[in-house]
Every structure is written in C-alpha cells, then in structure tokens.
C-alpha cells in the first residue's frame, strides 16, 4: 500500500512537473529569463518598477527586431551579419531623402524600408545564385552598407523627420512606441514562420536543403525572400533606433549583429538550421536587455561589467541546457 501511494504521488508530481515542462520546455530561455529577473529584483529594488520594466522593453526593442529578421535566416541554416549595418543605412537613407530631397517623411520611410529590402535581396542573391557562403555574403554586405551610410551622411549624423522621431516616442504617456513596434513585428515574425508557405519553407531548407529541393521547393527563390525579409526587419530596427535618437547615425547599431544572433540562439534556435521560434527570439533579446539593465542598476564597474555579461550569458543558457538534459 505505502508503495502504491508513493508511486501515485510520484506520478502526480511528475505530471505537474511535465505540465510545467510543457509551458517552459518549449522555450528554455524563459526559465533563464525568469531566474535572471528574480535575481535582479532581489539585488535592486527598482528593477521591478513599471518604469524600469518598460525601459527594459525599450532597450530590448532594436535588438529584438533585428533578431526577428535574423530568425528567418538562422531557421533556414543561414546567417546574416549585415543586419546592424543595414539598419544604419536604412535610417540614414530615410533621413537623407527627407532632409535633402524634401520628400514627404512617410515616403522617406518607405524608401528607407526599401533600402533594407534591397540590401537583403542582394545578400540573398549572392547566397542563392552566387553560391557564396552566407557568412561571406553578409560580411561583405556589412561592410558595404556601413560604407554607404558613411558616404551618404558624410560621416555626420542627420536629423530625422518627426515621423521617424515618433517611433522613439511614447503613446498615452506610458506605452513606448519601440515596445509596440517590437510586439507587432514579433507577432508578424511568428505568423510568417508558422503559417505561411515561406515560413515553412525556411524550416524545410534549414532542416534538409536537399529534401526541400527534391520536394519542389525553389530553394534559391526562397533564399531571396528570406534575406529580403531580414533586410526589411533590419530597416525597421534602424528606424526605431533613429527614432529613439531623433537622428540618423552612420555608426548606429555597429556590432549589433552578434547580439541579434545571440538572441536567436539563446531563444533555442540552432545555427545548423531547422529550428527556432519567434517567441524564443523575443525571450532571448529580453535576456540580453535584462542583463545590461540590471548591471547598470547595480552599478557594476564598467570593466567588470563585460566579465559579468559574458558569465551571465553563459550561465543563463547553461541553466537551460542542463535542465533539458536532466529532463
């Protein structure tokens, strides 16, 4: 009898545990995020204030948006190193067309977005038709887009039209537009990945490119779509960033590509392709933002900060993989 009860109890515990696993297991990074937030909240009383949480959201937004676009690429077993530069180029193009040609600011924004799409399209064409490794194609684009941003702006920040500045503002006195944009694009990314043909093709190409080809998926065509999408998302990120700074900066978002890729990978995607989800990426971006925000709040000395950031990233992902292994 006692044995039976014990068994029953174990089973019950297991089922509770497995339910939690269903919730969290799908996205291990969530565990890391929760842990991290709890630690930060204990160490700093202001961490859990509404204002600070919104700050975290705003601070995550640009990387998150870049990372959503990056998710498409990584799911399809590619990599896009150019996202930071393309973001800067798009914001400079917008500012430039609005100020020098005097184009309607909304049209200027469209031109900026198109710039992102074109940059992505070229990367995609180099990968699909030029057979360049994605790393090389997008590394080249990283350099080209940054150079063009500098050429166009002559190295000097350009003021953005107010339509762009709106992207950095706050609605109703509390909702930051960057957070809103991040949410909308996150939803869009999830929709594309889960529901559209292009999205499913990303998983197929990333999981087994040969099988995808033999099943009649036009892999090259899809690669054009994938990198163009990444370019478009990067352009939006660039505009949000420009909005926050109210100016187009030729050096903006430099180095953000590593953050964006890290967010995707922390979110559970594999660089080998075939896996990854928009929600995971979102959590990954939040993990990075919480680490940075927390270290600021705790006033960790700047040199040590880099050490701590590295250690916390490793620990956060480690907690996830170890948990998974035990399960």
């Amino acid at each position: 009898m006692p044995t039976e009860t014990a068994t029953a109890r174990t089973e019950q515990r297991e089922s509770l545990g497995s339910r939690a696993q269903v919730l969290l297991g799908q996205n291990g990074a969530l565990v890391a995020l929760v842990l991290l937030s709890v630690v930060m909240a204990v160490l700093s009383p202001v961490f859990f204030s509404t204002q600070n949480l919104l700050n975290v959201g705003v601070q995550a937004a640009v990387v998150a948006i870049l990372a959503f676009g990056q998710t498409f690429v990584i799911v399809s077993a590619g990599i896009d190193l150019s996202v930071g530069s393309v973001a800067a180029l798009a914001s400079i193009v917008t500012a430039y067309t609005a100020t020098t040609t005097g184009l309607n600011p909304l049209l200027a924004i469209v031109v900026g977005l198109l710039t992102g799409v074109i940059a992505g399209f070229i990367s995609g064409a180099l990968v699909a038709y030029g057979r360049l490794p994605a790393f090389i194609a997008t590394l080249a684009m990283l350099s080209i887009a940054r150079g063009l941003a500098l050429v166009l702006s002559d190295g000097v920040p350009i003021a953005q039209p107010s339509a762009v500045a709106w992207l950095g503002s706050t609605i109703g006195g509390w909702l930051p537009v960057p957070v809103l944009v991040m949410m909308v694009l996150g939803g869009l990314a999830a929709f594309i990945l889960n529901r559209t043909f292009a999205g499913r093709a990303m998983y197929a190409i990333g999981g087994n490119e040969e099988a995808a080809r033999l099943s009649g998926i036009n892999v090259r065509h899809q690669q054009l779509v994938i990198y163009s999408l990444s370019g478009a998302f990067a352009a939006v990120a660039g505009l949000v960033l420009a909005g926050r700074l109210a100016s187009g900066q030729p050096q903006a978002a430099a180095g953000y590509e590593l953050d964006a890729i890290a967010a995707v990978v922390i979110g559970g995607a594999s660089l080998a392709g075939g896996s990854g989800r928009a929600f995971g990426t979102f959590v990954g971006a939040l993990v990075l933002a919480v680490i940075r925000n927390g270290l600021n709040l705790l006033n960790v000395s700047s040199f040590w900060q880099q050490v701590v950031i590295g250690a916390v990233i490793a620990l956060a992902v480690l907690s996830d993989t170890l948990r998974r292994r035990r399960a």
């Binding site: 529901r195 292009a198 499913r200 999981g207 099988a211 995808a212 009649g216």
Partner: protein, 512 residues
C-alpha cells in the same frame, strides 16, 4: 565485350508512359550509365535489378529531374522531353521515392508528407486541410501516428512509410520506388506490395528497385537488369531466381546463406538485466566465441535500442554489460570499443558514415586511435588498410579517395562494415547489416561473418529479414515490446515459430 541485351519480355498491354533510349550519365571518374534503354507502360511494375553501384539510382534520378543526363533521349507519353527539375518531373506526373530519405527531421509528419506543396491560400498554409490530406495519405500506407510529431522521433521504418505516403499523395501516373522495402519488415512490405497492386489496377506505372528477389517475383511484371551501367536485358518477372542472379552478377550463387558453424568457445559478451525505462526491460543475453546470435522481432520491438545500449551509445537505467568477464562502463562508447565491441548502426547516413569524407577516412575511423603513436596518425597504414578493405569487400569506388557520399547505397553499407572489420572487435553488433546490399554482396558479408566466428569472434545480429536471421544465426532471441520473449535454437527456428513469439506478446498486450 558488349553482349547483345537479351530481351525476352513482352511489354504489357497498357499505353507506354515512359521510354528511355541510350541514357548516358558520367561523373568525374565514373560512367554511372553507359547507354541504358528501358520503357514503362501503364499498369506495369517494371523492376530494375542490379548489383550495388550498377546505376539504378542514377537512372531514376535522371527520370526524376535530379540529374541531367549527358546523353540519350527520354520520352514521356511518346514525346521527347528534357526533365529540367524535380518540379518539372512532378508536373509530368512522375513521383519518386528516393533511396536516401528526404525528410526534414525537425518538421512534423504531416508537413513532411506534403513537403513543398502544403495546401495554401495567398501564401498562408491551411493546417486543417494539410492534416486531412496527410492523414488520408498515411492511412493508405497503414501508418497511424500523431501528425504533429516531429518525423525525427519515428524509427527508420516509419520514416520510410512517411516517404511512401509523400510520393503517393502526389497521385502520379508514374511512381518510382528506389528500395522502399529495405527499411521495412515483412508486414509492412506486404502492405506496400498490396498497395502497389492496387495502383497497378488503376493504371499507374511503377519502377521498382529492390534487392529482395522474392518481392520481385511477387509484384513485378518485367525486370530490366543493369550491370556496370549497361542494360543487359529485360526479362519477365517470372524468370527463375537463379537466372536473374546470373544476369545480374554474371555468375550463379550456390548458397544464399552460407553459414558455417564453428565449435563454440568462451563466453565473450554477457548482458544481464539491461533496462531502459520506456525502451526495453530486463534484457539478458550472451554471445560466445564463434557464435552468431540473432535478435528478431517486429519493428519497434526495441532491438536497435538494446544494441545501442550495449555499445554505450545510449544510457540505460540498470543492468550490466561485460565483455570477457570484465564489466563495461555504461554510456561510454570509447570504453566499449576498448573492451572489444563494435557496432554497425542501422542508419548508415546519420550514424555510420562521415558522408563528406573519403572512403579511406571512413574505413580508418574505428582504428584511428590504434593507428596513432604519440599523437601522430600513421596515415600510410590507414591507406594500406583502406585498400585492403576495398579489395576484400569489393567496394565499388573509383578510388579510396572518393567521397563516400558519391558511392551507391549498398557500397556505402559495405564501407560501414569495413570500418568495423578493420577494428577487429571481439563481438560485433550488427544492426541490419545487409540493408540495401545486393544478393551477391550479401553473400560476401555472410562470408565475412563466417570468417569472424571462425577466428573466435562473436556476432550479435539484428535483422528484419527473417530468412537472414534464420539462415545465419546459431541461436535466435525474439524480442517484443522491449522484452525478450523467447529463444530458439537453429534447429527449432522457423519463420512461423519466430513470428508466433514476436506477435503473441503484442496481441496479449493489445487485449489489455
């Protein structure tokens, strides 16, 4: 040398769907097809027969739009065509099940069935419709699994069924099946052959490749035999097996299962109470020197899992494994190999081979450590070893430097065998060692098993080909639902006796 092809078969009544004349396909260093001709009619099952590397898969890849032939002509419905891509082949009504699996491991079963062509509107996938279509296709092959499950969680057999369902769902007029039965057990093979008969009734033309001669006679109408990239003849499927083998191999084969029993020596492998929750339970067995022990059972009985656990590839919860009386630590492949174990895994592509590496490198993989002195690898020795293996196993490859990926399926399997023979383990664990291997080469592999036991080694053999188990094993253990349910001596073992044991347990558990 070019003997005139024998052509003794009369084409069936149906209208001609497909004709190939003098097809030529060359790869660097290899003429895979040197002028093959063949035709397919509606309502016909046309078998392609040939040794490993004869060019069967290359031929059908030309038909499927994967390869562009270097010469010759292709006719579909009597019209000359140039099949430019796989999508083009599909448009022409040609569906293909390739020898290599073309599944996307991470995607669900349903998505794999409808890969590349999910029902959609304005680019948005209609999941409900997709699931309905996939379910219908899977029902035809008798596979009942959760459609949302990632296909990677299915065993090899059920992945093969998914592939078949995928091709069927195209509703093609021409269906090409490249060794679809290699990964299936008898029950599923029966089901597939029934399905093919049904399709034949509906006027579908099928090209069927298999190394199982009995299947050919059961379902085939005509047989075209390929040898070294040439068609050596087209004969009726009713042709006697010996004659088919002679056409294919160029010589006749006396004994299909040439087991030479040797006196048994000491116990080499002992497995005691091996349990892995959810996979298998309380498995105890032993293999003695000079003995071939068979592990029979239905797909999903857990045989593969047991082999992998013994070898240290997977964890297990309790039980012990010992080789020559010495305990082997669990979950440590390195130690298992050190103790004298070797494993030829069932999935050569995923677990057996480094596809992008050369034949030489693959053949040297299991003896890499042994060929190392002071951290330096004796590559001359490995090269020598590779040449010997290629010669002994008659691996058909342009050179030992050729990439394994470019070998034919059967020859890839031989490379995996060769890798372990080179390592000379005390006990070799074989999981479906002859999958995709031609009749001639099979006998060669059996001879190798004989050599192993003659030299005092032991073999634990898992095979879904019952005749092979019956023909080659000295003792047969039957598994069902993760448990050993019986043991039969060579004398006691018959097809019926084994099946009775394998199925009984399944039925009794169903009754619960």
């Amino acid at each position: 040398m070019n003997t005139r092809p024998t052509n003794t078969a009369t084409p069936p009544a149906g209208r001609e769907l497909l004709r190939v004349e003098n097809l030529v396909k060359k790869f660097p260093g290899v003429v895979a097809l040197g002028g093959v001709s063949f035709d397919l009619h509606a309502g016909e099952v046309h078998v392609l027969l040939g040794e490993n590397g004869a060019g069967k898969s290359t031929l059908i890849k030309c038909l499927a739009g994967v390869y562009q032939p270097d010469g010759g002509t292709l006719f579909v419905d009597g019209e000359k065509v140039h099949i430019s891509s796989t999508a083009h082949a599909e448009q022409l009504g040609i569906a293909t099940i390739h020898q290599e699996f073309n599944i996307v491991p991470q995607l669900s079963v349903a998505e794999n069935v409808l890969l590349g062509r999910p029902p959609r509107r304005f680019g948005i996938v209609d999941r409900r419709k997709m699931h309905a279509k996939a379910r219908a296709a899977l029902q035809r092959v008798g596979l009942d699994v959760d459609l949302r499950r990632p296909v990677s969680t299915l065993g090899v057999a059920r992945q093969q069924l998914v592939e078949i369902a995928k091709a069927l769902s195209l509703d093609a007029r021409v269906l090409i099946l490249d060794e679809p039965t290699a990964a299936l057990t008898d029950a599923e093979v029966d089901r597939l052959l029934e399905l093919m008969a049904e399709l034949r009734q509906n006027g579908v033309g099928m090209v069927f490749i298999s190394h199982h001669l009995e299947e050919i006679q059961r379902i085939g109408d005509r047989v075209t035999v390929l040898r070294d990239g040439q068609s050596v003849g087209t004969v009726p499927a009713t042709t006697d097996t010996g004659e088919l083998v002679r056409l294919m191999v160029g010589r006749s084969i006396e004994a299909q299962y040439p087991r030479e029993q040797t006196p048994l020596g000491d116990e080499l492998l002992r497995v005691e109470g091996l349990t892995s929750t959810g996979h298998f339970e309380d498995v105890s067995l032993s293999v003695r020197a000079g003995e071939v022990v068979g592990l029979a059972g239905l797909v999903g009985a857990g045989r593969t899992e047991v082999l992998r656990a013994i070898f240290g590839a997977d964890r297990y919860d309790s039980g012990t494994v010992s080789v020559r009386g010495k305990a082997v630590p669990r979950h440590d492949v390195h130690a298992a190999i050190g103790a004298g174990l070797g494993l030829v895994p069932e999935d050569r592509k995923a677990q057996g081979l480094v596809l992008g590496a050369s034949v030489e490198e693959n053949l040297g993989l299991a003896i890499l450590r042994a060929a190392t002195r002071g951290g330096l690898v004796d590559r001359a020795r490995l090269r020598e070893q590779a040449r010997t293996s290629v010669k002994n196993l008659r691996i058909r490859t342009p050179s030992t430097r050729a990439t394994v990926k470019n070998l034919s399926g059967g020859n890839q399997q031989k490379v995996v065998m060769g890798k372990w023979l080179a390592a000379d383990p005390a006990v070799l664990l074989l999981d479906e060692p002859t999958r995709g291997v031609d009749v001639g080469a099979k006998v060669e592999i059996y001879q190798l098993i004989n050599q192993l036991t003659a030299s005092g080694r032991g073999v634990l053999l898992v095979s879904s080909e019952l005749p092979e188990v019956l023909g080659m094993c000295d003792r047969i253990l039957v598994m069902a639902q993760g448990r050993l349910v019986g043991e039969l001596t060579r004398e006691e073992a018959t097809q019926d006796a084994v099946m009775a044991l394998a199925v009984k347990e399944v039925e009794s558990s169903r009754a619960h």
